[in-house]
Symmetry: C2
Subunit: 339 residues, 2 copies
Amino acid sequence: MALLPKVTIAIDVMGGDHGPRVTVPAALNCLADHPDICIVLVGDEALISSNLGHSPPSVLSRIKIIHSDELVTMDDKPIHALRKKHSSMYLAINLVADGLADACVSAGNTGALMVLSRSLLGMHEGIDRPPFVREIPTLTGHCHVLDLGANVGCDAAHLYQFGVMGSIVSRVVDNKPNPRVGLLNVGQEESKGIEQVKEAAQLLQQNPRINYIGFVEGDHIFADEADVIVCDGFVGNVALKTSEGLAKMVGRLLERNFQQNLYARVVGLFSKPILHKLVKQIDPKRHNGASLLGLRGTLVKSHGNADIAAYQHAIIRAMNEASSGLPQLIQKEISEISL
Amino acid sequence: MALLPKVTIAIDVMGGDHGPRVTVPAALNCLADHPDICIVLVGDEALISSNLGHSPPSVLSRIKIIHSDELVTMDDKPIHALRKKHSSMYLAINLVADGLADACVSAGNTGALMVLSRSLLGMHEGIDRPPFVREIPTLTGHCHVLDLGANVGCDAAHLYQFGVMGSIVSRVVDNKPNPRVGLLNVGQEESKGIEQVKEAAQLLQQNPRINYIGFVEGDHIFADEADVIVCDGFVGNVALKTSEGLAKMVGRLLERNFQQNLYARVVGLFSKPILHKLVKQIDPKRHNGASLLGLRGTLVKSHGNADIAAYQHAIIRAMNEASSGLPQLIQKEISEISL
């Protein structure tokens, strides 16, 4: 008996630096790997078709194409995206709003994505600020860090909501029954930090469903000490980009160091696969896909310059969140703590 | 003709994880390398003596020992350090306050150091909040990042002062005539970020002595795009510790990856010197030594677990700052912008 598709994912094919050249092959790979999903490709039909390649009917039968010739550009002000009602981004998100898709993935303009998804999907009652969450690679796995830049200047209640939502994400996406939730701070002592972080600590501590482990510092992100790390969007964005920048520097220094002389070049040749693995291990892009939480639907933002493998990771994240009913679980727990 | 000592540095020998075992040999190495400095070692005299080894008279003649058997511990509340008037930290800072030393170096309790130095040395008029500044390694050199944790919740005027002070540091310490000053933010567009950062941008822009280059993001820290990067202490602390954490993870992953099988182990043997170099290149501790700016004297804080080479770096930083008259230059420029 054929599997009935469980999850339909709408993809804004035109978003990102590479557009259909990356988004379409990534979608095809996901369809091949996951026989229980359908994908709606939203974008320029001719470009989509030219990137479909020679996919088997079992894959093609689960693709639907919706043509769009309007584009939200990276320079568009977020508010202008609301007027571009035929853009691939607008149409893809709207499919989720209309119940025709369970999740949307886009690598397009982040500000536009935030405004459009808040407007079209709406937020759950009690959510003030939807945070971006994603996985950051750690020594043995990953942790979920939120907010990564959707909100700057969060108060204690916002940080508390992030902690509750992040805990649900880790439970659902990683199957961890009791994820450790930490608050990012400048020290581990209770007296350290800013008022809103200290207040958020009290709120998290008082919620019996949260396994709150206290303050964590920047270096703990990679040390597998927490499953969920909560912070203001300004701080999270700086932490994420700092680690991206350092990971990039490691790659460049490895190249340079292994080119310095003949000995280094020869050793470099033999070390290549091992070093390549390292560069991948520490690259935050490997865990591509940031979800905007607290919306009445699943929206995953891919890095703009994601390659095919990275974009696939974002699609799989969307699939996992939608199939596990993450938005509904968040709605339920947030409504309970808002009472 | 013998060189007359130009700079006298007071060292809180007891501070840090390793105490005299690290601080004394580091002092001896600095004295050997720099015939124009004197060092006052403040701490347990017996412990200091047992770590002096077989130094030549040309080194020993420039050492003075001041005995102290009181200790500021890592658990001491900063305010309690004020009462420990015979501690090595108190006495070492007081030597600068009394004009008997030009700079003080300590690897002890950061909060205590801040309170003691503000109290004993005093701040320049017009300085509201002394920031911690230090070098972060970049692809081809380093940049100065401030504040790294002395002040959380800075307003625009504080950030502006940090920019002015950081610019002087880069001019004086790196001999850069026109250092590029960037403000750390979550995007490069003028509309991005929080109010205080946007206001600070305007203030920096209006100062003709500052080569303000605009907003920079976390990944730009390592890309040699700015010589000075300004941020709130909360954000700077998270950025620094995040990069320390990732650098540590790189070291551990390299170890692990090169142990996975016989091939990797053999290649690892030959790659060792090259990889060791990389781990050093990306380790922020290599640029050990954070100065607390805006005080009427030079104070450099070393990382608590610095090794001898790292601690030497902190002493050299103190020497360079004191010999170039950094505190006086800062006083002059801050008084000019405060008019």
